[in-house]
Amino acid sequence: MSQGGLVSGGTAPAVGGTRQATLVVALFAALIAALLWSVTAGRYPVPIDHVLAILAARIAEVSPVWSPTERIVVEVVRLPRVLTAAAAGAGLSLSGAVLQGLFRNPLVGPQTIGAASGAALGGVTAILFLDFGLSVQFGAFAGAALALAAVLAIHRSDGLSPVLTLVLAGVVVSAFCGALVGLVTYVADPETKLPGVVFWLLGSFASATWPKLGLVVGCTALAGIVMLGMRWRVNVLALGDEEARTLGVDPVRDRLVLLAAACLAISAQVAVSGTIGWVGLVIPNLARMIVGADHRRLLPVAALMGATFLVIADTLARDLTPAEIPVGIVTAIVGTPVFAYLLRRNAAGAA
């Protein structure tokens, strides 16, 4: 267990059952608040009472207090967008937390382990040879799974410093996928395909629609049910294969199921909104500081925090400046300092 020091959990004491329930309720309330704020905010502000009335009108008879434009802004533009951001954030963060547990390494995330770049490569390839739509989701999933398989293959060949080689293998695979993405954009027809490819790669929730929302919610929910359902198994697998076996659990198959679920959630996010970094790496670490390393508590908290964080980040991305900044820049600006802090903390812990 040479890497034991790295996987030390948060400094917070373990949280009791009632405190955990309170925390989950509070985080859920925060997510709802963030969603509502996000729907009201923007270059065309919609008052909160109008938003609530428009939402209520979907399920009950409400006399319209809103203008037709407000209704279109809320229902067609903003609602699918903020809900997509929430689903993507939850999926990324949940996957990150599961990957960190499985690899017993807090520096692992959808991006550092190459899955996100694999998904991007799969996505652009699908756009190039087929078209947008479901094929992008399939391409992204295949790409993420292949990238993860490649990282594991490289990783296995070195037993010296497992924590670092895993991250370095991720860097290598990401770079390779990045090069292939460059090749695809280079050969893409500049008249028909290239604009779509480039726009998709930039990463944004601006193109969110109800059908795309359905896709990302469906995939994330399926992956989420598997990962949250196996939260105790993640605890067992986080002890390492040998110990898992002595506890009567076969680690190989369980890990495969969890990795497939993580790939599904990550590729669903990449398929609807391109690569968005740092969420799946940083949020699980923050969640671990709050609730400790027990995945029964960590996974739901990480999912809720990830959803809230990405909704807020996306709202800032579209409202801070007159022209929208890519949301990936906002998550990186918040994520990199936190990551640097985690690196320092881990270095201190390992010493």
């Binding site: 030390s8 659990v249 027990d294």
Partner: protein
């Protein structure tokens, strides 16, 4: 109950760690496994637990084996109770989390090792002795018929060594567990074990009643160092010490350590 029949294992093609090794540990019986570093003690434990398939021979029986690793690992940041709860995993389905009855059983096991008071503390903040006991409770939580411990006393101070050895004795008597443990302390083997298995560096092994096989000749052959068993006079007439004759000399003439004069 589990048993080994004619097992042999090697990691390199021609270098057998042990061969034709048979073990049939009985209920309420404690077996000590001794051998120098690298003779395959831990490998043998893995075969006993069923996590490693031997190259030769077979492991018989499919009963649950509770395994207690050396108390080195301090990952995770789980509480002591959660750590023990992990022992319930074999009873839980893939999508199942521990229920209230599992928590109750885990708490019982913590009580059994005398650590009820630290259930909520983080495992990685515990002392080495407490960690060893928590791991023992975790093995008990899987309701095993056989308990396998890898050098349970090696990381512990003298007092805690006694705590763990006494606990092993009590578990074998009261819960009728078959217990197997590896150790580098021959006196621990003689103190608690009924049977002993000695693994020699040349791949040979000897198994028999602890009192018979753990003697000066076998120990000397095993470790390549002359060994004396010395009776200690005083309060406890049955007390003895096993002393290796290293013939060490400090460079300073003032102090010498030669064990017992030959």
């Amino acid at each position: 109950m589990i048993a080994l029949r004619d097992v042999g294992h090697s990691f390199q093609p021609s270098r057998w760690l042990f061969r034709r090794l048979s073990l049939a540990p009985a209920q309420s019986q404690i077996t000590a496994i001794l051998g120098p570093n690298g003779t395959g003690k831990t490998t043998l434990l893995r075969v006993l637990c069923g996590t490693l398939a031997p190259r030769e021979g077979e492991r018989i029986g499919s009963d649950a084996v509770g395994y207690v690793p050396q108390a080195l690992a301090a990952d995770q940041g789980l509480t002591a109770l959660d750590m023990v709860l992990l022992g319930r995993s074999r009873f839980l389905g893939r999508f199942e989390a521990p229920a209230r009855r599992d928590t109750a059983r885990a708490q019982e096991c913590l009580d059994e090792v005398g650590l009820s008071s630290i259930a909520g503390q983080r495992y990685d903040r515990l002392s080495g002795g407490q960690r060893q006991l928590v791991l023992l409770a975790r093995a008990l939580a899987s309701d095993p018929a056989t308990l396998v411990l890898d050098e349970p006393t090696s990381a512990l101070d003298l007092a805690n060594q006694g705590v763990v050895l006494r606990l092993m004795g009590r578990l074998s008597r009261e819960r009728r567990l078959s217990i197997l443990f590896t150790t580098h302390h021959p006196e621990h083997a003689l103190a608690v074990a009924h049977r002993a298995l000695l693994l020699f560096p040349d791949g040979i092994h000897v198994e028999g009643p602890a009192e018979t096989v753990v003697d000066e000749t076998n120990l000397a052959r095993m470790y390549g160092v002359p060994v004396r068993r010395v009776a200690l006079t005083g309060e406890d007439p049955s007390a003895f010490a096993i002393v290796p004759l290293h013939h060490l000399r400090k460079t300073s003439a003032a102090a010498t350590f030669a064990g017992v004069p030959e």
